[in-house]
């Protein structure tokens, strides 16, 4: 009875999503082995070994596993699956890409984006953009699960490091090749791990204003920056800033929504935040309905005042 956790990493570091998925994996009640599939990924494996509750780390290190492409990663998971009762991954863009492919090859119906482990075969998951919560029981012998990070605490580092075992990789023709990537570089906290998120919407009006108004406030609060779909579609912010049903799901201590109305799709990505602040000129906006604190007025007047009040 063992659980395999497919880690999300960039070879050098382990994302916080993996530490959160580990907390969910441990709730299944079995030993957890963490699989690091990558290229020159020893640092990520060492980071995983330090996490409390990891019984063993499997390191599959091969150039074909660079960039976490779905075809080789899913094939590896399938090859290892016979020794495991459950296979878990964080519901990151990488986990969501790889795990269903492996599930189909194992003839298992995946349980996506769980927010609670009720029993080792029963889980809660949001549906309809979080407007309903479904409790499902899996009848498959093997469970394949992705985990919504915002719903689980990140596992901490333990006192002793788990052993790292090397797994042999047989590279196969996959039909896909990595061409390039363009990743946002930032010194700010990661959106899904930040304690405070400052998010902007269409009312910012332009990319220049978005940066000019939001970024200094975010820096003062040591906050991550998010955006509504409308702001991303309009080109005010890059796609990786998007918070919502199909973007990033966040649940920080404090979420400050500035000039965004709060479409259902956006609320789905942030309504589990501990404290929500809405700064909006429309007091009937949906975001104001769910906010703990609302400040009604023109954001271009309010933000400088807020900046001053923060000292």
């Amino acid at each position: 009875m063992t659980t395999l956790l497919l880690a999300d990493h960039d070879n050098a570091t382990l994302g916080s999503a993996t530490a959160r998925a580990l907390s969910a994996a441990r709730e299944l009640g079995a030993d957890v082995h963490v699989l690091i599939a990558g290229s020159n990924a020893k640092p990520a494996a060492e980071a995983a070994a330090k996490l409390e509750g990891v019984a063993k780390v499997l390191l599959a290190d091969d150039p074909s596993l660079d960039h976490q492409r779905a075809e080789p990663a899913a094939a590896l998971v399938v090859a290892l699956a016979k020794d495991y009762d459950a296979i878990v991954a964080p519901a990151t863009s990488s986990g969501k890409n790889i795990l269903p492919r492996a599930a189909a090859l194992l003839d298992v119906m995946q349980i996506s984006d769980i927010i609670k482990v009720v029993a080792p075969n029963t889980f809660e998951r949001p549906i309809y953009a979080g407007n309903a919560i479904e409790t499902v029981e899996s009848t498959d012998t093997k469970k394949v699960i992705t985990v919504r990070g915002a719903a689980f605490p990140a596992a901490k580092e333990g006192t002793a490091a788990a052993p790292i075992e090397t797994v042999a990789v047989t590279p196969a023709e996959s039909g896909s090749a990595f061409v390039s990537e363009s990743l946002s570089k930032s010194d700010r906290p990661e959106l899904t791990a930040a304690r405070i998120v400052v998010s902007g919407g269409r009312a910012l009006g332009s990319s220049e204003k978005f940066n000019e108004v939001l970024l200094p406030l975010a820096d003062k609060l040591h906050a991550a920056v998010g955006a509504s779909r409308a702001a991303v579609d309009a080109g005010y912010a890059p796609n990786d800033f998007q918070v919502g049903q199909t973007g990033k799901i966040v649940a920080p201590e404090l979420y400050i929504a500035i000039g965004l109305s709060g479409a259902i799709q956006h609320l789905a990505g942030m309504k589990d935040s501990k404290v929500i602040v809405a700064i909006n000129k429309d007091e009937d906006a949906p975001i104001v309905q769910i906010a703990d604190y609302s400040l009604i007025g023109d954001l271009f007047t309010i933000i400088p005042e807020l900046d001053k009040a923060l000292g």
């Binding site: 919560i133 029981e137 899996s138 061409v179 807020l306 009040a309």
Partner: protein, 248 residues
């Protein structure tokens, strides 16, 4: 090259879903149903490929209850050439859908399959990846840009850290993200024409596939409600309140 586009009917994106009082699901009676927004983007992308001379025929496929046939007509009105509808009143999970699609693809032999990345009802985000696995085809999920050249597709994907570009050898599976395109509106003459067009209707049994769900839905409930909030008069008051709440 033939392009196959699997599509799903879901509750309209602008309707607020209501959980049924008996906890068995979401109330879909007398609620506006539409083509899933991501599926509509998939149809649009196929049409653009045809307009560029990269695709020769667009075949749309849907699986669902009889009334879901409407979305095949919606796809016809946008420009799809042929539609296949697999009728079932059962709840169909992504794994079962992927198996039915696998059987259809064996017969249709498309060069490219474009699907929505996620249906906005069950939010599973699985079908495209599962189908790619069953077929042994390469996949590019969450696409924001697609270029087809001969037997290769270059796809830019929206990933957590930004954007990633992959090259795929066709046949392949692509799933759409929001910014791939803005779907067109159908014209009235095309809507009229779509009403008269034939739809090939089948049953899951015709493909010899067992669609019995693997997940039992024990309960569907409302999410926990948030406490009512307060309006603050000024930025100073907001900062004071947030400090008192211990979040600043």
């Amino acid at each position: 090259m033939k392009v196959l586009v699997p599509i799903k009917q879901v509750i309209d994106a602008n309707v607020r879903p209501r959980v049924k009082a008996d906890g068995t699901g979401v109330d879909l009676a007398n609620v506006k149903l539409s083509i899933n927004p991501f599926c509509e983007i998939a149809v649009e992308e196929a049409i653009r490929l045809k307009e560029k001379g990269k695709a020769s025929e667009i075949v749309v496929v849907s699986i669902g209850p009889a009334k879901a046939q409407e979305i095949i007509r919606s796809a016809y009105a946008l420009g799809a050439d042929r539609g296949l509808f697999v009728e079932t009143e059962e709840r169909v999970e992504p794994l079962a859908v992927a198996k039915v699609l696998q059987a259809i693809i064996a017969a249709e032999q498309p060069g490219l399959v474009i699907l929505g990345k996620q249906a906005i009802d069950d939010d599973s985000n699985q079908t495209g990846q599962m189908l790619a696995g069953l077929l042994g085809w390469p996949q590019a999920t969450f696409a924001s840009k697609l270029e087809v050249d001969g037997d290769r597709a270059t796809v830019t994907r929206e990933v957590d850290g930004g954007l990633e570009t992959l090259a795929l050898t066709l046949p392949a599976i692509v799933t759409t993200d929001l910014r791939l395109n803005n779907p067109r509106y159908p014209t009235l003459p095309n809507i009229m024409k779509a009403k008269k067009k034939a739809i090939d209707v089948k049953k899951p049994e015709d493909f010899g596939i067992d669609i019995t769900p693997r997940l039992k839905v024990l309960k569907v409930s409302e999410p926990p409600a948030r406490k009512p909030g307060i309006k603050v008069a000024s930025a100073e008051e907001l900062v004071k309140d947030l400090k008192a709440a211990g979040v600043l």
